[in-house]
Subunit: 257 residues, 4 copies
């Protein structure tokens, strides 16, 4: 008996591809279109959603039927509705996995999951990037070599303002002299997050075999283990007896020593 | 030469004290008033702020002049303006310390700093609470005994939905049968957070010597080490030379193996 | 096609069962014998090993053929040969999972994996213990209720001297007034560790359904993802050209500002 | 009133300086001698100790009178007596700070504190190293620029087998194409550890102003907050009453569901 397929939704703001001919030439069906083709596999059911759709394509129904959400955004972070961001975050708390790529580090959803500004240094100069696999035992690193190069990428440099519980899997070396924490996981509530740095729209990064393998591994690792809200619950009946209390506070005084 | 005093702002929603006579009797000048008296010390300059003040008393000027912000809220979390929450968060990212007490776990600011729902189980039955000091070496635990009791407190029980990098200093045992992670620190950006569980408005917790000592230690530990925004910065000039690039992507192909 | 079975070795010092009749009556085939029966499953190949066997039953061959090692020890930690401890640690670094139970917290292997003294407070009084599941989303918590009781157990109390990267899954409440971090994971090298507190030899803890389910989940989660030593490697040929150097240090001076 | 000075012991294996003339020329009084001069300050009382001294200069008396221990070793890790390593580790557990430099990553004390193999990749080619300050808010980073270069250093490259709770302050970029986690802290028991990568014996690294400032900051941050063993303690008298128990286990059965 096979396990149920993983229901994947690839979200893309889908702006650069339509506005910049060179990006459109690279990803004629959008980054979401390219990824949904490249990541296709028997154990996945993939759909896509974009900013311009009603509710950005992320209705409650879609999210309820999503196990793992991929997120690519850059030019239009501020156009993503706060209510949709909260809805996505709530689903992560309930167990949905989320894989945030590249410039998604400044998306509202990345920032609310980290609790940080998520700022960094950057340079668009087509730096050569070398990714080092620093936790080869992590399932997301399965089959990924010790290091691999991307011939042209946007540079992201440290300091990178992220949460302290980021578990690091990949780190990057840049030709121009910088380093970066390029691939890490977090847990928020019952859901897992994976951030992966590469993926600038102007470069063919999403056709790179290693990049696609990392994303493919990420999706499998992000599959929810549970799917339930955590209720804030009043438990009026204690498991143990509670002793009678003297609620007269007449002797209250400031007693700090 | 003495170091500059630490500029402390104690924020209180100040609702229960005015609405419930028993709470008002316990804290006639409000929880903020009681704390500002009890925590007074030569190295601190303390002011207070409350929900009902313009901008909740947390203008940009006040926050710029605050090293450590204490936060007590419960009944009116949703009345705190989102813009003020973002302003406080920005100041934490810049280095301001924040000490969040008790029911502040459901405040907007606690939740955005953790990135979590911050939910938990609770019971208002005057449980006896015993706090255990699990990291006696942490400066916040200085002078705090291995364990101490609070005779009546609201119970908070696990699971507590917090971030994974919470560094634990105190854990609680409750008479009614629950356990809780009661005191922990986080870093977000350049600022530190300390959460401390006790402090239900209906009980004289803020007159307890150990509780006051924990808060006093917390303020000193939360003092900023830096005070600066982290700019997201374009660094167009690389430190190392960047090699010429071939930007013709004509040979692009899907090559995932 | 089924995946390969997980090769499990259950190690037990096997001292109390032979020396104390009440323990022998409870576990007539030893704790290792009881566990190997109770944990039997089609996806597991289980063997046992004990202190008294040559090399404590943990020859290099046995360890090389072990995916997950369970460890129970108490009375004879100091009789475990240092060379065998190093051999086990080396295998964890290579990817082998290790599940350490109860008083194994003072075993040499637990201490060298944590880097800590692993000390705690304890009491043998048959306290009732209540375990709370604080990360219900972790695979080790699958099917485990929010809380469950063990009617009699040895008490272990905080502070518990463990490493800071312990990821907490279970916490305990004790009838006598203590709390404890009872179930957590660590990674060391490529291998994972899971520590689970319950399991005093004088009580029938290893017949408890929830305890057995936790151990069963633990074994599956500890299954190695890789199996390889990490070589300390000299890489004489750099990936990037290294510029010529001026190795004349004649201008060296102390210049700390 | 001034606080007590910090009692610093600088430990150096002191082998290369005597065996290799170029190293001896660089550090004629040994690395320990150079550091004790450069780090001299009114709030520090510095002594040195070396491998060749009785008990490697680290008698119980010396360690008891040491607040912060600096450690440099490379060629003779295996000549350090296990009993002395345990003594140092015990003192860290009691609160003593330890600052481990460069090739000390393979020292016994570094490995037992991390619980890892501590292996890495390396190259002795005089790579230019650039250190990036990734947590500018940490006291150890006070006054350290966003990045600084060391013109010639031994290369250390990822993966670096360290514990998961390493809090990262510095990361390195190497001219030859590698990245490394170069400065991080841990806590073990009541004591703090700081590891700092630079410091190859063949280069004048310990005359670099930024390196010296990092070490100077490290010493202040490592100052103990407490100084006490954590006793493993039997607490026979419970704080809460323990109910009578039925110790007849006659109904024991295997009940895993």
């Amino acid at each position: 008996m096979n396990p149920s397929p993983i229901r994947v939704t690839i979200w893309n703001e889908y702006v650069h591809e339509k506005q910049e001919p060179s990006v459109g030439a690279l990803y004629p069906e959008g980054i979401h279109g390219a990824l949904s083709k490249s990541l296709a596999a028997p154990d996945l059911v993939i759909r896509t959603a974009t900013l311009e759709e009603p509710e950005h394509g992320l209705t409650q129904e879609v999210l309820n039927a999503t196990d793992v959400l991929l997120w690519w955004g850059h030019a239009a972070h501020d156009k993503v509705d706060d209510a949709i961001v909260s809805r996505v975050q709530q689903r992560v708390w309930e167990g949905m996995g989320i894989l945030i790529m590249h410039s998604g580090h400044m998306s509202k959803i990345f920032r609310v999951l980290n609790g940080t500004s998520s700022k960094l240094h950057w340079r668009e100069a087509g730096d050569r990037e070398r990714l080092w696999t620093i936790d080869p035992a992590h399932p997301i690193a399965a089959g990924i070599p010790e290091h691999f190069d991307l011939p042209y990428e946007e540079m992201y440099g440290e300091p990178f303002m992220i949460a302290g519980d980021a578990h690091m899997i990949f780190m990057s070396w840049f030709e121009g002299g910088e380093v970066f924490r390029s691939g890490f996981t977090l847990q928020r509530g019952f859901g897992r997050m994976f951030y992966f740095r590469p993926g600038h729209e102007a470069f063919p990064t999403f056709y790179n075999a290693n990049v696609l393998n990392v994303l493919a591994n990420g999706i499998r690792w992000l599959k929810p283990t549970v799917n339930m809200p955590f209720p804030k619950t009043n438990v009026p009946n204690s498991l143990e007896p509670i002793s009678p209390k003297d609620f007269s506070f007449s002797k209250v005084g400031i007693v700090r020593t």
